[in-house]
């Protein structure tokens, strides 16, 4: 899922838990890895996931073997680079409210993703360059996204029947909206909200409920 996430109570209590796993790594290795991730994020924003190893090493000033030593492959590095900046953004987007709390919260976060050009320009550039390959983006964020969606479906706020099918279809619909917002710029954030409202039909949400949930004031605080 693009807009859904596993941001949870432990992450709210400890934002540093969103950093790369690997506490067993030496401090120097961790620093090098973090620098590579930052470079990979910049290359994703400028070129996209089709950037070659040559383009990346020219940008990061490292040898190609460094990529393989840290990540195993260029694809894994780019995927982790996207996953990390997305996860950091989620902490901001949730503002302390757990993702699995309600559909309202999940949709608010989704709508904030339509507005990252203003709030998080680097992530906006990355989404703009990567979203023409939804598989890459969805693979990178799925592990963080699915648990919250499953929890919301269990709460009965989404149709739980044929959950996997609906999830796949909805993820691509959201990818299509994000492409319109961040790649082609055909959709304003407000336009994207309306498209999201329609896409919620995939979950059998009534038009009235879909409209209500996509029209909330994004500046309001936690709902509880």
């Amino acid at each position: 899922m693009l807009c859904l996430n596993s941001y949870n109570r432990s992450m709210a209590d400890n934002p540093k838990s969103t950093e790369n796993p690997g506490s067993h790594l030496s401090a120097a290795t961790t620093r090098n890895r973090a620098a590579l991730i930052r470079s990979a994020q910049q290359v994703l924003a400028e070129i996209g996931p089709e950037a070659t190893v040559e383009q990346f090493v020219a940008h990061a000033q490292v040898s190609p073997t460094t990529i393989y030593n840290h990540f195993g492959s260029k694809e894994a590095m780019f995927s982790q680079a996207l996953a990390q900046i997305f996860r950091e953004w989620l902490v901001w987007a949730h503002n302390g409210v757990p993702a699995d709390e309600s559909l309202d919260v999940m949709i608010d976060v989704c709508r904030k993703l339509f507005r990252i050009q203003q709030t998080h320009p680097l992530l906006g550039e990355i989404v703009g360059k990567t979203i023409n390959n939804p598989r890459f983006v969805i693979d990178a964020v799925m592990a963080d996204s699915l648990p919250a969606l499953e929890a919301i479906a269990r709460l009965g706020q989404l149709n739980n029947a044929e959950f996997d099918k609906r999830t796949r279809l909805f993820a691509y619909c959201v990818a299509g909206i994000l492409h319109g917002v961040h790649a082609t710029h055909e959709l304003s954030p407000a336009d994207a909200d309306v498209s999201l409202e329609i896409a919620l039909a995939i979950w059998n949400l009534s038009p009235e409920a879909a409209r209500a949930v996509t029209s909330r004031d994004l500046n309001s605080g936690p709902t509880d």
């Binding site: 609906r166 279809l169 691509y172 619909c173 319109g180 329609i198 995939i202």
Partner: protein, 183 residues
Amino acid sequence: MAAQEVLATVGPNADVAQLAKHAGVSPDTVDNFFGNTETLLMTAFDQKWREFVEWAYGDVPKGDSLEAIIDVCRKLFRARETHPDFSRILAKALDHPDFVIDAVRDAAMPALEHVALRGQLPSDDFDRRAQLWAYAIARILRDVHATLQLSPAAADASLEKTLDIWDISPKTAKIITSRSLKT
């Protein structure tokens, strides 16, 4: 056509050097005839798409009914058996749904618009629904042709769900995605 072979083996991200090598021409020749690689690949995809759609509609006029469009979608899910070359192209191209959707827009939209004019699809928010539906179908096609996660029958069931985007009732959606397909 060399561009179609490049689509099937490399995908929409192929560069001019890869295209020129397959075609046995110089990169300048590609540029001179098509302006850029993307245009050539889109033209190649569009041509293959139109050939398939012509076959899939058979004698039925395009845009005749929603049922006819859905039948064509379901035949797309079965193209691995009927049109293996096209299936290979779809498998690669669907890593980039925007490429596929842009490439087939001119060929596919008139039929959808015609069906909406006849009242079988809602006209309000038509463009938005069409775009969302296109992405949802792109996902199904990818699962059928690239990852092989969906059988044609499972793809039909997913297609049934996508019709929610068009406000089609579940009962109608089930009926029109279960018709006997004439080949």
